[in-house]
């Protein structure tokens, strides 16, 4: 019996906007080939279209128009049959809007539903990022690095059709492979894309994630107050002053208060790793970080508050010491612990940890600028642009 099927695509604002839209359009157009009806829509708002912020697109497919209306004029369906994370670091959870707290990536997945992730990591590693769920669901990994593009350009690396091709496999009720391939052919007029989709269908495998499997952390959240309890005048309390830091016998430095309602670390695809042995205490990271993520430590070094960091890479770019701050792929981490405390506690272990992290998934996959980006770009342009017309010196 035909039923309504909801697909949620969680993506990174700007960089994956077109990708998410393409996937949702493809689903609805494919379902149409089988006489079903559907809608594709974005989670309307402002923040979701900022760089890297987790955002959502949806496709709903229903047997007929009246059934579909049950899912219309909504921001999000209550449950999903398929949730697609087009970047594996999104599996750590999303703060798609300020004020929601942290939503686990699998929050909406119904029992027996599927989480589809594009990643080069093995499924077992991805499950560690995902918050535990009381009921079982399935995980499908489509091998590949996350596809990031810019605001005005779309990187057509076939990620869209590879995901679309996998869907008939993970949820045959949604649409048949034939209908999906026919829709892809119609929409993109490309046999190559059809081939990519078919190959993805053949290669995709899924595994079951059992109840209680995954990250046991309880995601932060809070209640929305009623109008009688809310502050009036559209005001919120300002941040209180911060406090000195205590560690072991040492007291000193300064840790500012930070917004407890919107931590925004889910915006991050890379995170700074600090080699404290190299730090010359120049203050630049602390000064230049646009989100005030650094705490002043009792020894005048600067520790990253990983709950506040959105991963922009500015600190790496401004740090004057080679190899002192290095941006590392977020998928190399499973917690937000203090790096400084690790260093203070056991310097050798920390040094080993730093080397390991920097060696782990070194690819620069996201759309933010990073140190050396322009040098690399200029070099890749070849001799024609490298000649220089100087003569000033």
């Amino acid at each position: 019996m035909a039923r309504t099927i909801s697909v949620e695509v969680v993506y990174r604002g700007i960089f994956q906007k077109t990708l998410a839209k393409n996937i949702c359009r493809g689903i609805v157009l494919a379902a149409r080939k089988e006489g079903k009806i559907g809608i594709a829509f974005g989670r309307y708002g402002d923040s979701p279209e900022r760089n890297g912020i987790p955002a959502k697109n949806f496709a709903i497919v229903a047997p007929d128009e009246e059934t579909l209306q049950l899912s219309m004029a909504q921001y999000e369906p209550a449950e999903s049959d398929i949730t697609i994370a087009v970047d594996d670091t999104l599996c750590k959870g999303v703060e798609s809007w300020a004020w929601y707290g942290l939503q686990p990536i699998n929050e909406k997945i119904r029992e027996g539903g599927t989480l589809v992730v594009t990643s080069t990591l093995p499924a077992g590693e991805i499950v560690k990022f995902c918050h535990t769920k009381a009921h079982p669901y399935r995980l499908a990994v489509i091998p590949g690095i996350p596809s990031f593009s810019g605001l005005w350009v779309y990187k057509d690396d076939h990620t869209d059709v590879r995901i679309l091709g996998a869907l008939p496999k993970v949820c045959p009720d949604l649409v048949s492979l034939d209908a999906m391939l026919a829709a892809i052919k119609d929409e993109w007029k490309s046999d190559l894309k059809v081939t990519s989709a078919r190959r993805s269908y053949e290669q995709t495998t899924t595994r079951t994630v059992g109840p209680g499997e995954g990250n046991p952390e309880v995601p932060y959240k809070f209640d929305l107050p009623g109008w009688t309890r809310m502050r009036e005048g559209v005001t919120i309390e300002g941040m209180k002053l911060g406090e000195p830091i205590q560690f072991g016998g040492q007291v000193g430095g300064y840790r500012p208060q930070r917004n407890p309602y919107f931590k925004k670390y889910t915006t991050r695809t890379m995170r700074p790793v600090i080699d404290f042995d190299k730090c010359i205490k120049c203050t630049l990271c602390w000064l230049q970080c646009p989100d005030s993520c650094f705490d002043v430590m009792p020894d005048q070094t600067y520790d990253l508050n990983a709950e506040a960091c959105c991963g922009c890479g500015v600190c790496e770019a401004v740090c004057p010491v080679d190899g002192c701050i290095t941006m590392v792929n977020e998928s190399a981490f499973t917690d937000n612990k203090s790096q400084w405390e690790m260093w203070k506690t056991n310097k050798d272990a920390y040094r080993q940890w730093v080397a390991e992290k920097i060696g782990c998934r070194p690819e620069r996959s996201h759309g933010f600028r990073y140190k050396g980006q322009y040098e690399e770009q200029v070099a890749s342009m070849g001799a024609a642009s490298g000649g220089g017309q100087g003569g000033g010196e």
Partner: protein, 410 residues
């Protein structure tokens, strides 16, 4: 205080008479209320107020930050921000100038900023019609601004003081627009009693913004981004503030009567010869003048006619006004505004009155009129004509299905 000093205070506190216009009366009230920040941008006819403020400051009579902005939009924004830090603020405009400030106007109520704006009512013109029409102020009628229409310079002064008291009450904290008919009030000087500062000080407490004050000692963020999870609650808060304003207005008028010895009766609307009236006209602003003249003439001819002048349009006293109007045999509503394509093709006030009467057990016929647009005079024959139409409705017991335009060339 012993008897002797008490007498001295009373003598020193005697009111003085001055010949000033309605806009100048608002300016004088701003001096008496010791307004902290006054923002200005010239547009006729509101500019008569800002000019008078400038003069008072230049003469050393008034002490206020007087900021001439580069547009109405900035003018209202500056007043908003001044109000947020705890300054008593005043601004104002007319016609399309008021519309140009609309972005600021629209968001002021939810931010609960109790600034005052004088609206020198002016047609929403392109080709330079300076005359009065109420559509400028009415464009903001649904947004959480309190709106009051005055009909004399004296009332303009008194209401400005009352409006500060109500707006700045913690239970309210809403902005208030004081509408004064262009030309007829803004440009005509009349004798006005100017109360002494001591009375005003007794009547009007300091503006205390409390926990909403934007100040380093009270660190808050104002207007963070909200989404659909928050805005409805914010609207409900503004709605509650407007509801609260009804009671606070009553309190303020009661105190005003005690301290200033001027009695406005029901704060929300003025009744003129309504006690034994069979039919009445209802309207706002200086329209009251020709209507009152005609009423006296018709009464001399033995006709039992009356007038109800709506003062406070927001909040609207629908309970008492509905109860009053349902007593009459017919009600004629005079709009100096329009609402093109609305039910009965009437103006804004007429449909408010229809809605007000709907909840009443007895509903007299309602006749709606549009007249006096673009500053056209409402003449004695115009008013007579409106009473005649209203009388006819009383006789037939039926409301006309359409609105009558009075004083328009066919």
């Amino acid at each position: 205080m012993d008897a002797e000093t008490a007498t001295a205070v009373t003598v020193a506190a005697a009111e003085q008479e001055a010949l000033i216009s309605g806009s100048e009366a608002v300016a004088v009230a701003s001096r008496l209320a010791d307004v902290d920040v006054i923002t200005a941008y010239p547009i006729r006819p509101y500019d008569t107020m800002m000019q008078y403020v400038a003069k008072q400051i230049a003469n050393g009579e008034q002490d206020a930050e007087y900021i001439v902005a580069e547009s109405e939009h900035s003018q209202f924004e500056i007043a908003k921000h001044a109000s947020a830090v705890g300054a008593r603020a005043l601004c104002g405009s007319s016609g399309v100038g008021w519309c140009y400030a609309f972005e600021a106007i629209a968001v002021t109520p939810a931010l609960r900023l109790p600034l005052l704006a004088m609206v020198g009512n002016r047609a929403l013109d392109d080709p330079g019609a300076f005359g009065t029409e109420h559509n400028d102020a009415l464009a903001a009628r649904d947004l959480g601004w309190m709106h009051v229409w005055v009909d004399t310079a004296q009332e303009a002064l008194d209401v400005t003081l009352i409006a500060y008291r109500v707006a700045e009450d913690r239970r309210v904290f809403l902005p208030c627009a004081i509408s004064t008919d262009g030309a007829f009030l803004t440009h005509s000087q009349a004798l006005v009693k100017i109360p002494p500062r001591a009375w005003v000080d007794e009547f009007l407490p300091r503006y205390d913004r409390g926990d909403l004050r934007f100040h380093p000692d009270n660190p808050i963020t104002i207007a963070p981004q909200v989404n659909e999870d928050w805005l409805m609650e914010i609207r409900r808060q503004t709605d509650q503030a407007m509801r609260n304003a009804r009671g606070v207005l009553e309190e303020a008028y009661r105190d005003f009567r005690r301290i200033f010895n001027r009695d406005y009766g029901n704060p929300f609307f003025e009744e003129y010869y309504t006690d034994d009236a069979e039919i009445v006209l209802v309207g706002m602003g200086t329209l009251s003048m020709p209507v009152k003249v005609v009423i006296r003439k018709l009464r001399a001819e033995g006709q039992r006619v009356g007038f109800v002048r709506v003062r406070w349009f927001r909040p609207f006293d629908y309970e008492r006004l509905g109860g009053l109007l349902s007593r009459f045999q017919a009600v004629g509503v005079v709009d100096r505004d329009f609402s093109m394509g609305s039910p009965y093709n009437s103006g804004v006030l007429a449909n408010e009155i229809r809605a007000t009467l709907y909840g009443q057990p007895k509903q007299p016929p309602v006749v709606s009129f549009i007249t006096g647009l673009g500053g056209r005079e409402v003449t004695i024959p115009n008013v007579r004509e409106m009473f005649e139409h209203t009388r006819k409705a009383a006789e037939t017991g039926a409301s006309p299905r359409d609105t009558l335009w009075i004083g328009v060339r066919a």
